[in-house]
Symmetry: C2
Subunit: 111 residues, 2 copies
DNA sequence: ATTGTTCATCGTAAATGTACGATAAATGCA
DNA sequence: TGCATTTATCGTACATTTACGATGAACAAT
């Protein structure tokens, strides 16, 4: 990728927003988050039953969500319960909401 | 990638959300959108002056934003003016806002 | 007609993402 | 101890993303 390491500087917000967006940039991860958000409480590998994907693939997606901080998991071997991480969830709401709800100065007629 | 084409089904919302999220999953694209959103009106390759990246790379990112429908461009050779596409912008606001603002049933103490 | 400006596209290289099956790790139970 | 269950991780294959420089296309001005 020939990265020019000096290059572009990003604000913290830009980086956090980008990482959250990246986490939800795959439809199956959105589906997983929806499921977790709608459950009374946490969740486990019922995902494997609901989503027709290899268990390893789902685990990989869960890892991505974990690393983005959008979910958290409670290890209770051999099971693991996952749920939404409220803190990051709120951050996401604030940052993305603020971003897209901002009044747009832009009033042009580009085509 | 050995895609199992039958596999998982996604709702329209899930797909649209994912594609919008993907578009803003890179900090430089967030930066570009911020710049476009804050301008009185449209914008051009002043981006190249503001963002220290190869012109071709910026063009690539603009293409990604275009394809996601988040911006639109008016060709006025040899210049091109870009601006926010309000329609998709509102969709993004609604979908992402609705997603992250939804009341979470989830009230667990996962760690 | 030639030149300059602006932008997109091509070609390319390296990194990252996405999917799978196989295997390992952790625990409970027989 | 050995087996079943659940989940993460490894290895692998292929696609996609991201960056760059070089080149091409469209038009204005000379």
């Amino acid at each position: 990728m020939k990265r020019t390491l000096s290059a572009v500087e990003y604000s913290g917000e830009e980086q956090i927003m980008a990482s959250i967006a990246k986490a939800i940039s795959h439809p199956v991860r959105i589906k997983i988050l929806k499921l977790l958000a709608s459950r009374q409480c946490c969740f486990t590998g019922e995902l494997t039953e609901i989503i027709p994907m290899a268990q390893s693939t789902i685990s990989q997606h869960l890892k991505a969500l974990l690393e983005a901080g959008l979910i958290q998991g409670e290890i209770n071997p051999p099971k693991v319960r996952y749920c939404i991480n409220l803190e990051t969830w709120l951050t996401a709401s604030t940052l993305l909401g603020g971003f897209f709800n901002a009044d747009l100065t832009c009033r042009c007629e580009c085509r």
